[in-house]
Symmetry: C2
Subunit: 167 residues, 2 copies
């Protein structure tokens, strides 16, 4: 059954203003220690299992507003982690800054994404994205035209769908 | 004298579609050799001295269109390089992925930008941005609301303005 849920993850993401966040990008480990990394952005908040399979972390960069009409953030996917199927009323642009990931528009083959790749998904088209099986992924997202809405979440990506990658 | 020139740099920037660009991010050296780097994006095309002081290179990521209404690209600024003063009819979002840079909104102090920083400039507000004196800068730009226009270029940033940084 398709769940139509307005993007809770986006709405709870932390807005980041100019120059006011940590410079050393701490990642909180399971034992509550802090790991400093070379990643561009902090790891962020763990995505809900209602919308993600595996461990995915969202870090908000630009919140929704009526001036820029653009939501921007970063998702760190651990290997094997991926979003549910979903659509964006105004479309979405993904920019890969590290790692290896997968992206699929419904009805098309899974495409493999690498550092530096730019992937677009048109408005109201079903897609999913996430890390590859063996590598993690740092993926910025840009959601334009936020006056049309942000996201509609749908069902999880099955293991069969996820594993259907022709490398 | 204020020059009002519609964004030539943006219009000539190369559009990058899904997964169709080099993975190894070549940089063409002055002697025409290729240097492979760890940068996320290729260096791109040198910006015109009509709009930039010093060496700045633009690499287009998402071209203008009526679907996403968002122009995205990356500028690599060598140390000391900066844009002219300019405005964006729909505003601009900068995301710093490496290096150290400066950004100034007219009438406000110069702010120093580091890796991971997000800086916004509202619509029709005069600003400039570039590398710091001693470090280069990798700076993604997002220009939303492209139906309103892209950029209006104005006069160069003087050395006195550029050097007025309180570190």
């Amino acid at each position: 059954m398709i769940k139509k849920v307005i993007c809770v993850v986006a709405l709870i993401s932390t807005a980041v203003a100019c120059n006011n966040k940590p410079k050393e990008n701490p990642i909180v480990q399971k034992d509550n220690t802090i790991e400093k990394t070379d990643f561009i952005f902090p790891q962020g908040e763990k995505g809900s299992p209602d919308f993600f399979t595996g461990n995915a972390y969202n870090y908000g960069l630009v919140p929704m507003d009526s001036t820029y009409t653009t939501l921007v953030g970063n998702v760190y996917f651990e290997p094997g982690a991926r979003s549910n199927w979903h659509t964006h009323p105004g479309g979405q642009i993904l920019i890969i800054t590290d790692g290896i990931g997968y992206h699929q528009i419904e009805g098309q083959p899974v495409e493999v994404m690498h550092k530096g790749d730019v992937v677009k998904c048109p408005p109201n088209v079903r897609h999913w994205h996430g890390a590859s099986k063996d590598s993690d992924l740092q993926q910025m997202y840009i959601v334009p035209n936020t006056e049309k809405g942000i996201v509609e979440w749908m069902e999880a990506v099955t293991d069969e769908q996820y594993n259907n990658v022709k490398n």
